[in-house]
C-alpha cells in the first residue's frame, strides 16, 4: 500500500453461539466511530452451536476492500481457534487467549478437522513440542509475537460474585472481556467501549451491566501487564463523517427498497435468508412472504409482477435450481422479476455457508428453451445497493427476469461506506398500456424494439391473457411457425436493445493503468482483493490493470474488445474449478486467459493469494492454470 496506508487485521475466533458476532460488532463499531474504515469478514459453519466460527475486522485509514489472511491480533475464545489460526499470525502480532485453554490437548478438540490435527501434529513432533495449546504457543516463541494469556476464570469469578449470577452467565462475558483487552492493548479509550455496550445489548439492563464490568476488568488486567508490542492502530489521515456500516445482504435489501419493491416471496436458505429477514425489520410498504419452497417463491413473484408491483426473490444455488421453470415462465411471458442469487459452494447441498462462484454459467442458462434474461453482478457492498436498484429498472424496461448474482463472501462482508447517493436514482418503469378498450389487449404486441406495453392486472377497461405456451400477440395459444419465429425473435432481440442502452459503467469497470501489459479480468466479490492488490503492485513498480465485469449477460463483447490489447497478458481470477467466466470470455470474445487463477476451497481469495500468484505470473514462473490452496 501507499506509505500512509495502514491497516490492522483483528480476528476473533470461537465456537458458534459464544458471541463472535456481538464481539466483532462491538469492536467494529468502536473503531468505526473513531474514524477508521472497517472491512469485516464473517466465516461460519453450517451449524447452530459448537462449531468454529471467526470474524475478521480490518481497521484501516483508507477505504480498503480486500480481505487479508494474515492477522495482526488474534483473539481466541478457545483452543480450537488458536489451532486454526496460529499459522496466520503476523510476525509482530498479538495473540490473546484464555489461560485456562492452555492446558488443552489438541486430541480432545472434537471439531478440529483431522487434516489440521495431523498437520499440527507433524509440526509439533518435529520440534519436540507437546501436542497441546502449550506446544502451539511454543511454535511461535521465536517470533516477535506477544501472547496475552488472560486469567479469565478470575474475571469470571469476580463477575459472578459482583452480580450474583450463575457461573455460566458470567462466562458469557468472555467475548466482551477479550474485546476489551484487545482494545486496551491498542490504546482505544475505555469509554468508547462502555458507551457502545448499551447500544449493542439494547434494553437488556443486566447484560449491559455485566459486560460493562467485564470491560472494566479487562482494562484493569491490561494495566497490570508489561507488554512490549509495536502493534498500533493506523494513523488517521482523513476525517470521514456520516458513514454507513453494513454488509452485502443489507445493501441489497436497501437497494430493493429504494427501488420500490412491493413484495418479496422467499424460502429460507443460507446465505440468502439474512436479506429477507432484514427486509422484514424495515418499516416501509413492502411485504416479505415466506413460501413453501423456491418453486413457489419465483412463481408467486411472477403472479405478483402481473399486477404491476415491483417484485423480487432471493435465494442460493439449491433454491435457484428449483426456480429454473419459473424463470422460463417469466422469460416467456415477459414478466419483470428480480432474482438475487447468493452463490455458495455447490453442487447439491455443497458448502452451505462457504463461498464459491460456481453458478455463473447456470445463471446464464438456467431453464429449458431459449429466453432472454439479464445477469448482473456486484463487486463490493456499495455496488450491491446500486445494482439491486438497477435490477428493477432493467427488469421493467426490458420485461424479463434479471438475476443479480453475488456470493456468500460479499453477502457477509461488512464495510464502512460513504452514504449512498440517492439523489440520482431514477425509477424507470418501462412501458404500460395507459388506456384500455374493455377487450383483451395485445399483451405481446410486435413492436420495432420488441417491447410491448403491458397492462396491470385489475386495471379498469383492460384485460389480458398470459401464457407459458407459445402465444399470439393477444396471449392465446398459437403454434403457427411464422408466429413462433416472430415471437422467438421478439423476445431474443430485447437483449440487443439492453446491450445498446445500458451505459458502459454499468457493464464493466476498469482499474489501474490502461497501458499495463498485464490485465486481470474478473467478476463479483473478487474486486476487493484485486483492487487492493493493484495499489500494492504499483508501489512495487509493477504495472497491472484490472477489468471487473458487471453485466455478465448479455455479454458486453464490443466494450471488452475495445479494452483488450492484442499483445497483453490476460489473467482471469474466479472462485470456481471450471473457469466458468473464462469459458464465457472465450465464447464471447474469442480469447481466454493466458493464466487462470482459480480457488475452490469454499473460501474467498485473500489479498495474499493475488499478490503471490500474480507476482509469479509477472515473473514468468506461473503455470497456465493455478489452483489456490
Amino acid at each position: 500500500m501507499g506509505q500512509n496506508k495502514q491497516s490492522v487485521l483483528w480476528r476473533i475466533g470461537g465456537a458458534q453461539g459464544h458471541g463472535i458476532d456481538s464481539a466483532s460488532l462491538l469492536f467494529s463499531r468502536v473503531c468505526a466511530k473513531m474514524g477508521f474504515h472497517i472491512l469485516g469478514l464473517r466465516d461460519y459453519h453450517s451449524n447452530i452451536m459448537g462449531r468454529h466460527s471467526f470474524s475478521d475486522v480490518r481497521i484501516a485509514n483508507w477505504q480498503t476492500l480486500g480481505h487479508v489472511a494474515e492477522s495482526n491480533m488474534l483473539v481466541c475464545l478457545d483452543a480450537e481457534s488458536l489451532s486454526r489460526h496460529i499459522e496466520c499470525i503476523s510476525t509482530e502480532g498479538v495473540i490473546i487467549i484464555d489461560a485456562d485453554e492452555e492446558n488443552i490437548e489438541l486430541d480432545t478438540l472434537k471439531f478440529l478437522d483431522v487434516e489440521i490435527k495431523s498437520h499440527l501434529h507433524e509440526e509439533l513432533v518435529k520440534h519436540n513440542y507437546p501436542f497441546s495449546v502449550t506446544g502451539l504457543l511454543a511454535l511461535i516463541k521465536n517470533k516477535k509475537t506477544s501472547v496475552i494469556s488472560v486469567p479469565f476464570s478470575q474475571i469470571r469469578d469476580s463477575l459472578q460474585t459482583q452480580f450474583s449470577v450463575s457461573r455460566s452467565t458470567a462466562l458469557r462475558s468472555k467475548n466482551i472481556t477479550l474485546v476489551a483487552i484487545s482494545a486496551a492493548l491498542l490504546n482505544i479509550p475505555k469509554n468508547n467501549l462502555l458507551s457502545e455496550v448499551s447500544f449493542l445489548f439494547k434494553n437488556k439492563e443486566q447484560v449491559i451491566a455485566l459486560n460493562r464490568a467485564a470491560i472494566e476488568l479487562g482494562y484493569d488486567y491490561v494495566n497490570t501487564l508489561n507488554i512490549n508490542s509495536d502493534l498500533k492502530l493506523p494513523e488517521l489521515t482523513e476525517s470521514k463523517t456520516d458513514y454507513l456500516w453494513l454488509n452485502g445482504c443489507k445493501s441489497i435489501a436497501l437497494g430493493k427498497l429504494a427501488a420500490g419493491m412491493g413484495i418479496q416471496p422467499y424460502y429460507p436458505i443460507s446465505p440468502a435468508t439474512d436479506e429477507s429477514l432484514y427486509l422484514e425489520t424495515k418499516e416501509n410498504n413492502s411485504i416479505v412472504i415466506q413460501t413453501e419452497d423456491e418453486l413457489a417463491a419465483i412463481t408467486m413473484a411472477c403472479g405478483a409482477a402481473l399486477t404491476g408491483a415491483r417484485v423480487a426473490t432471493s435465494t442460493s444455488g439449491p433454491g435457484f435450481s428449483l426456480m429454473a421453470e419459473g424463470l422460463g415462465w417469466a422469460g416467456m411471458n415477459e414478466v419483470p422479476v428480480v432474482v438475487t442469487l447468493y452463490q455458495r459452494g455447490g453442487p447439491s447441498t455443497g458448502l452451505p455457508t462457504r463461498t464459491e462462484q460456481g453458478d455463473l454459467q447456470f445463471s446464464i442458462h438456467a431453464g429449458h428453451g431459449e429466453f432472454p434474461r439479464i445477469v448482473i453482478t456486484s463487486g463490493d457492498v456499495t455496488e450491491c445497493f446500486y445494482d439491486a436498484f438497477r435490477a428493477f429498472n432493467y427488469a421493467e424496461r426490458y420485461q424479463l427476469p434479471v438475476i443479480h448474482i453475488i456470493d456468500k463472501n460479499l453477502a457477509s462482508t461488512s464495510q464502512t461506506i460513504k452514504p449512498f447517493n440517492t439523489h440520482d436514482l431514477t425509477i424507470e418503469r418501462g412501458q404500460f398500456y395507459e388506456v384500455g378498450n374493455k377487450k383483451h389487449l395485445p399483451r405481446f404486441k410486435f413492436t420495432d424494439n420488441g417491447i410491448s406495453p403491458r397492462p396491470r392486472l385489475g386495471e379498469k377497461d383492460k384485460l389480458f391473457w398470459s401464457s407459458g405456451a407459445e402465444h399470439s400477440e393477444i396471449g392465446q395459444v398459437n403454434e403457427n411457425p411464422q408466429n413462433r419465429k416472430m415471437m422467438v425473435e421478439k423476445r431474443a432481440n430485447k437483449l440487443q436493445l439492453a446491450l445498446s442502452e445500458i451505459p458502459l459503467d454499468e457493464k464493466l469497470t476498469v482499474y489501474g493503468n490502461m497501458q499495463a501489459s498485464l490485465t486481470i479480468i474478473s467478476w463479483g466479490s473478487n474486486k476487493g482483493v484485486i483492487v487492493d492488490a493493484l495499489e500494492r503492485f504499483k508501489t512495487e513498480g509493477k504495472d497491472v490493470r484490472a477489468i471487473m465485469l458487471k453485466l455478465l449477460w448479455p455479454f458486453p463483447v464490443d466494450e471488452l474488445n475495445k479494452l483488450i490489447h492484442k499483445d497483453e497478458k490476460l489473467v482471469v481470477v474466479e472462485c470456481n474449478h471450471d473457469g466458468q467466466f473464462n469459458s464465457l470470455l472465450k465464447e464471447q470474445i474469442g480469447r481466454g486467459a493466458d493464466h487462470l487463477l482459480l480457488k475452490y476451497t469454499g473460501r474467498a481469495f485473500m489479498l495474499e493469494d493475488i499478490m503471490h500468484y500474480v507476482s509469479d505470473i509477472i515473473s514468468g514462473q506461473a503455470e497456465k492454470i493455478i489452483s489456490v490452496e
Binding site: 429504494a258 412463481t299 385489475g458 379498469k460 395459444v477
Partner: protein, 315 residues
Amino acid sequence: MKAKEFSADVQNDWCAGCGDHGILHALEKAFAELGLAKNQIAIFGGIGCSGKTPYYLDTNGIHTLHGRVLPFASGAKLANPELTVIAVGGDGDGLGIGAGHFANAGRRNLDITYLLYNNGVYGLTKGQASPTLRQGEQTKAMPQPTMQNDLNPLMLALTAGFSWISRGYAYDIHQLSSLIKNAIKHKGSSFLEILQPCPVYNNLHDKQWYEDNGITDYPRIYSLEDEGYDAVIPVDANKSLRDKKFTESVMKSLEWGERIPTGLFYQDLSAVELTQQINLQKPSYCSLPPAKQPLVDKNNKNSLDIQKLFSDLKI
C-alpha cells in the same frame, strides 16, 4: 351482465361431452350472478385440459406452469387484494406435482378460490392414473391397474387448513355455479373439488356411474344441503364446536361408493384471512398494497422516502 358475456370468442378444444364444459358454464353463470367486473377477475390455470379454462373466459386469464397455479394466483392476490382470484387445475396438477403448494395454500388462508377438476386421469398425456385413481383401478388407456393408493382431496384440504371446502359435480351446473359463488364470497382459502368425468380416458367413472348407483333409483351423488348437513363453524365457535365440525367433515369426506356427497363440507368463519393478518403487522398494507404503491410522482421522480431506510446503519 349475462353469463354468456363472460364467454371469450375463442375456439374451445375440449372434447365433446367433457365435464370441463359444464365447469366453464358454471363459472360464467357465477360471475354474472355475482355482478363481477371483468377486469377485477383473474383466472389462473395449471397445466392439462383444465388449465386451458382461462383462455375461454372473457376475463383476465393466465396460463401458468404444471402444479404451480396456486403460488401464481397467491402472488397476484397478495400484490392486489382487490382482485377476485381464481385458480383452476386438474387432480394431477394439484395433488401430484403441485401437492406441496396445495397444502401450503390451504394453511395460508389467503382469499382465493381453487377449483380442482377431478377426473382420476391425466387426460392431456392420454390417460395415465392420477393421484385420485384408486389402487387396482385400470382405466382404458392404462397398460396395468394402478399399484398406488389414492388420496382424498377433501380430507387433504381439511387438514391443510382451507377454510371453505366443498364438492361439486361438473354436470350439475346449477349447484356448481352456486358453490362457485359461495367460494368467491368466502373470505379465505376456498377449495372446490369438482367431479369431472373424462369421457375419453376414464371409462370407470363416467356420467352414468355418477348419476346411477346401479342399486337404487337415486343417483350416486347427493347434496349435503338437501340432507340438512350444517358445515359452518361460526365466528365465535369454541374449540369443542370447532373440533366437532371438523370431525364431521372428515367423516363426510370418507363417504365414497354407493353414495357420494356434494355441497359444502366445511366452512370456518373464525379463521383470519391472510391479507388481514398482514395488515395487523403492516398497517399500510390494505390501503397501499404492492400493486398500488406510487413509486414515482407526476414528474417521474422517485417519490419514496429513502433516507429513513439508512437510519439504523449510521455509525
